[in-house]
Symmetry: C2
Subunit: 342 residues, 2 copies
């Protein structure tokens, strides 16, 4: 709490007490912002508030004393410049349905959620638009493992908004010597990169679990980013965004980090554990497990070939044997690389 604030976003309410929401609250508080953290669970909110820690979702880090914690959003909104939505995709609609009636007109929301809504296939900011009406919306997305941000390790990220003024304000207010914020006008592309990479990361984890080696894994991740670009472009993103920090950058972190939930989910699948057992043992959702369903729907609706995402879908939801997926991916006929390329 010793850095000097820049930019004009001073009061921020982070909605959601998961790992990334908590790390963002810590990051902003250390940069001198006035930060509040909303949790849906009043009892757990009291734990956070009194212990100044989040043992369930971000163990080992201190929540600065200046961060106010509450389960009553209305008490936190006074003077608020920005809401940060750090809610998992599956709870997005229920959480924001509850808040919508109380939100001041024009108060911007910045989404950290990486996924697509089951059933509707909507991006998180599309869900927010539907629920919260006309207001500036944006996403912040990139290779941002929460624990590393909370430790103060250097990272870069991308902000994209439907209002370029908001993007500039977020860039000015969130940037520090440890956290480098780029702007990108392609809101759909930035948001889709963060959602779609989680499915590919499960496939990368399968590679690890099957002990296929670094050669096979790199081939898969390289084809994976093209698969993301293929679907993402069809859904309104710009191709080049998927090769930027919020696409390829986030994909690599998620595919190679030992602590990534999605990669770990795939690794355990590859080692032979059952989907239900892995799910039961994880405290936070592996978003890719859910996202694989809308991706499968979108693939069919748009008539696209997404071989890696489809194998992940078949393994998780139809019990295909992980080792069979590798055969499917490796044994296609020889061909020209250009078919797979940009």
């Amino acid at each position: 709490v010793n850095a000097k604030p820049t930019g004009d976003i001073q009061r921020v309410v982070v909605v959601g007490d998961g790992g990334w929401g908590t790390a963002m609250a810590i990051l902003l508080a250390m940069a001198g912002r006035q930060v509040s953290l909303w949790t849906h669970d009043e009892a757990y909110g009291a734990v956070l508030s009194e212990s100044r820690a989040n043992p369930r979702f971000l163990p080992g880090f201190e929540i600065p004393a200046t961060v106010r914690v509450s389960a009553d959003l209305s008490t936190l909104l006074s003077g608020c410049d920005l809401l940060v939505s750090a809610v998992p995709t599956e709870f997005l609609r229920i959480v924001w349905s509850g808040h919508a009636a109380h939100l001041p007109a024009g108060l911007p929301i910045l989404s950290l959620t990486k996924g697509l809504e089951a059933g509707t296939d909507l991006r998180p900011t599309q869900v927010l638009r539907e629920l919260t009406g006309a207001r500036p919306l944006g996403v912040l997305s990139g290779p941002n493992i929460a624990r590393e941000i909370a430790r103060g390790l250097p990272a870069a990220t991308v902000v994209a908004c439907d209002d370029s003024g908001l993007a500039q304000r977020v860039q000015a207010s969130f940037s520090s010597d440890k956290f480098r914020v780029y702007r990108n006008p392609d809101l759909a592309g930035v948001e889709l990169g963060g959602a779609l990479k989680n499915v590919i990361a499960i496939a990368a984890g399968l590679c690890d679990g099957l002990e296929l080696g670094e050669n096979a894994k790199a081939a898969l991740v390289d084809r994976g980013v093209k698969e993301i670009a293929r679907l993402g472009e069809r859904l309104g993103g710009q191709r080049r965004t998927f090769f930027g920090l919020s696409g390829l950058g986030d994909l690599m972190t998620t595919c190679y980090s030992r602590v990534s939930r999605n990669r770990t989910f795939g690794e355990r699948l590859g080692r032979g554990e059952a989907v239900s057992d892995i799910k039961a043992s994880m405290k936070q959702v592996a978003e890719g497990v859910k996202t694989s369903v809308p991706v499968h729907d979108l693939m069919q609706r748009h008539g696209l070939a997404l071989p890696i995402s489809e194998e992940v879908y078949q393994v998780i939801h139809h019990g295909k044997a992980p080792r069979e997926t590798v055969r499917s991916l490796m044994l296609r006929g020889p061909k020209d690389e250009a078919e797979d390329l940009l």
Copy 2:
């Protein structure tokens, strides 16, 4: 030695007994080709031939009994369909100068070398062209850690030739259910990707050595592939090739594999070891150490910004402190991501 040969490349001479040359000899011999291995060192050749192992450069793998080993290339050339050049960049000119006079006209050469020649800044196939005259030339390059190939783990690679017939023959003859070979017509792009990624891999190793975390490393690798594309396109490659297997794919393997020599070199630098000590302790060259010099030359000659490669050059050749390079890379002003993108 039980697979059935396909394609019409039956007799192959691999020139060079390093890790990748030896692994390629094993791969081809196991696929039923008649393979010979040339070594410059007659005494060490006798060790290989008698022990059926390469303890110096590929310990732990058996060289099939059918692989003939010799230090006299002329005795191996009879009936040869293809020469595979697996010589480190720094020895390329001296080795092929010695062979040039004895080579049959029209015998194709497939290069596995990943680097640029110091002093001339030439690609390996450009050096081969200069020394060996008119003949079909090609490269095979991709995420191909030698030890994994020798173990029979699955991998994919790219072949690019100045003669499309050769590319098709190599694809048909080298492909197997473990080794997937793509064709790409962009010879310069495939070859440059393999050369330039070694410099970025040293920077990725610096990240590891300085313990900066996965977020920073992914940001660096993502910016690194764009830096490779920027220089590679100027040197005649096609932009999209640098995001393919032989560019991004190989870059990821090299940046994330624990066993990569270039990444390891950077990691040890980042931990504070001196360049001379690291060099003295490594049995095989880290190609990126050499390649950083031509890359620096080319950057200046073409007036390009290659911030990551330049920091690697400054650390290795001008004693810049590794921690300072991070400051240089992280503390540039906030800006639009598009400036860094494709």
